[in-house]
């Protein structure tokens, strides 16, 4: 015979102050965990939307990021005529020669942060899935650049119509583009030749991006470039390149999980405390239940279920607490040594993780009190005040 669940539910309602305080404690622990998971989740989502399966990034051998890579024009000429490269609207191969640099600009938090500058060939613009949100695209020869949406939003100096200063002078921001929250949104784009000349590196550029005709051709192209001894280049698929950057989130993820775990131990102790008090205060009730014929096991499971209910409530509250975070923009550093903006993403999946986490810590904190409740002798329990 089991004790009805309603008994536990009513008890939680009757002692609502205690219930709410304990549940809130658990909720905060869950909220800390969930906010970190939402952050990492958002970063991963941004990096995932950044890559196209047909794109291949070509760097110098030994270079780990576009920023530390060096790419020379003769190499570009050789690369351009590799088989498997898709053709653009003008019939030319879709290969973009790019120059990467960073500049430091004050962001809305008032700190100076680095922004990636990317100069690209016309093909580069054609192969990327971005659209202009405000203004126009840059026109070669006019010292014009366009800013990604996140850059325009996060850096007051890089808004539409403003001028930013790098290289030999000012550059006009003539447009804002939208890359659907991909990492491109955290970049400023311009014409490769003009930017390279201004940055004093007309012949030593950074990298090339290639669009293959299909996924098989992309793989073949990767092998072809990596095996070409003469080229001294190293090709990675865009997906792999951005996947590697997710490793960037590892320290944040570990710190967050570590903090949440420590807080969980603290909350488990607190839950234990509450449950022990509940058991002590309901000694007579327990005695009565035993007299009525409920077994020790049903007492144990009843109190255990109550602890689980309490912590599940905490988990739910925790989910509610992090909901406002969803969609909030923040930024971390990326492989190019500059800021990458992304949104917190609170998904149903991580909410499930949060509730599960809460229930786990509630079970840890609820078992011993439930056990002590079950062990009470009927007579002593009835006699307790």
């Amino acid at each position: 015979m089991t004790i009805p669940l309603a008994y536990n539910l009513r008890n939680l309602v009757v002692r609502k102050t205690t219930t709410i305080m304990t549940a809130l404690g658990i909720a905060l622990t869950v909220a800390v965990l969930l906010s970190i998971l939402a952050l990492v989740n958002g970063l991963k989502a941004t990096l995932e939307t950044s890559s196209d399966p047909l794109h291949v990034i070509v760097l110098r051998k030994g270079a780990e990021s576009e920023l530390t890579s060096i790419f020379e024009r003769p190499q570009f000429q050789d690369l351009k005529f590799k088989p498997g490269i898709a053709a653009g609207r003008d019939g030319q191969p879709l290969v973009s020669l790019e120059v990467i640099s960073v500049i430091s600009l004050p962001n809305i938090d008032g700190n100076n942060a680095n922004v990636t500058l990317r100069g690209m060939s016309p093909a580069g613009l054609e192969m990327r899935h971005v659209k202009i949100a405000k203004g126009t695209w840059f026109k070669p020869g006019l010292r014009q650049v366009v800013a990604g949406k996140s850059v325009a939003d996060r850096y007051p100096d890089a808004a539409l119509g403003k001028k930013i200063r790098f290289g030999r002078g000012d550059w006009q921001i003539v447009g804002v583009f939208d890359a659907a929250r991909g990492s491109q949104d955290s970049e400023v784009w311009g014409d490769v030749n003009e930017m390279a000349a201004d940055l004093n590196r007309p012949d030593t550029l950074s990298s090339a991006t290639v669009q293959a005709t299909d996924p098989v051709a992309a793989q073949a192209l990767l092998n072809d470039i990596n095996n070409d001894q003469k080229l001294e280049l190293h090709a990675v698929s865009e997906k792999e390149y951005y996947d590697q950057q997710t490793a960037q989130a590892a320290p944040i993820e570990y710190t967050g999980i570590f903090v949440a775990l420590i807080m969980a131990v603290g909350s488990a102790f607190a839950a234990m405390n509450t449950m022990y008090a509940m058991v002590a205060r309901r000694a007579r009730e327990i005695g009565t239940l035993r007299v009525l014929g409920f077994s020790r096991f049903s007492i144990l499971s009843s109190f255990f279920v109550e602890a689980v209910l309490l912590s599940a409530l905490g988990g739910l509250l925790g989910c509610l607490l992090v909901m406002p975070l969803n969609g909030l923009t923040t930024a971390v550093g990326n492989a190019n040594f500059s800021e990458l903006a992304f949104d917190f993403r609170v998904t149903p999946r991580i909410m499930m993780v949060g509730i599960f986490f809460a229930v786990a810590l509630g079970s840890a904190g609820g078992f011993f009190p439930a056990y002590s409740a079950a062990r009470k002798e009927i007579l002593t329990a009835l006699r307790e005040v």
Binding site: A270, V332, G333
Partner: protein, 386 residues
Amino acid sequence: MLRYLPLIVKNCWRNRRRTVLTVASIAISMCLMGVVAAMYQAFYLSKPEDSEASRLVTRNRISLTVSLPKGYLQRIKAVPGVKEAMMSNWFGGTYKDARDPKNQFARFLVEPEKLFVVYPEFRIPDDQRRAFEKERTACVIGRDLATQFGFHVGDRIPITGDIFPGDYEFTVRGIFDSPRDSHLMYMNREYPEQAQSEARRGFVGMYYMLIDDPKDSTRIAGAIDDMFRNADRQTKTESESAFLVGFLSLLGNVKMFMIAIAAAVMFTVLLVSANTMAMSVRERRREVGVLKTLGYSSGIVLGLILGEACSISMLGGVIGYSISMVLMMGMLKSPFGGFLPGLQLFQPLVLLTCVLVAGAIGLLSSLVPAMGASRASIVEALRSTD
């Protein structure tokens, strides 16, 4: 007040299990608080050690990744108050497989004869120092790095360059000891530079300076930046510790992150403590009635309960601080330790913060139940059965 202390202690001890659980719960939360407070202090409040405060770093104003010309060296050195200036570059490159994070230790190109002048706190035997200065392909490594990989003097370390393209092999000519984390490798800048084309030589990533008096650092930094204000490449000069903290911003908004954690922890502790105190006071209403019958005033009863809550939570604070010291010891030993300038194991200010915060939490959390209990009339309190 002091003569009531034994009574407070006795009260704490009457429900041992609850007290232990409460102290444990508070201690664990406060240990996080301790770590966060110590890191916050190290990053944003600490006065750098003398050796760090008397070192300045000049880099390109646009960004760390844009270089400065070699020609700035003599002009920087000529600024009054600058004892020595050294050209340095972040070498980057790859040792074995870069995907393994342990292979990603810091590598810098420096001027060998100046390294140990600018870093007087590095300890190295004189013969090793001279050997490093004499040989173009030599390098010196920190003790931590040597221990991690088992490198010895005379070993060769192969590195593939990216910023400085090419394959290099550096011979370890010395191992130095540093008071901080030393997963570091310093190489002679001549060697990789000779391997570059003419157009790519002569660029300097950073100038490290040792100055005569740390008090002059603001003036000297200003003087250097003013000197190059109208130059082709403008500079930004700051103290080495500010320069290092700048790297942290690459991890995101660290300051916000720390404050958010501290706030969440504090609020959780407040809830835990309030909950326990409410339970404890409720159980004791009758006892309060007895105390009052014996002539204890409402004020004393209030003081007793507040005192009990404060002692429990302050005990939790002290224990939590001790745990945080152990945690920090582990962090300083980790490779991440190099990015924690000025993080010290024992900081009186942090201990004070922990204890005071814990005390305040104890006070706050017990205020409501204590007021209720102390205000209740004797008859009412004696009649209470819960």
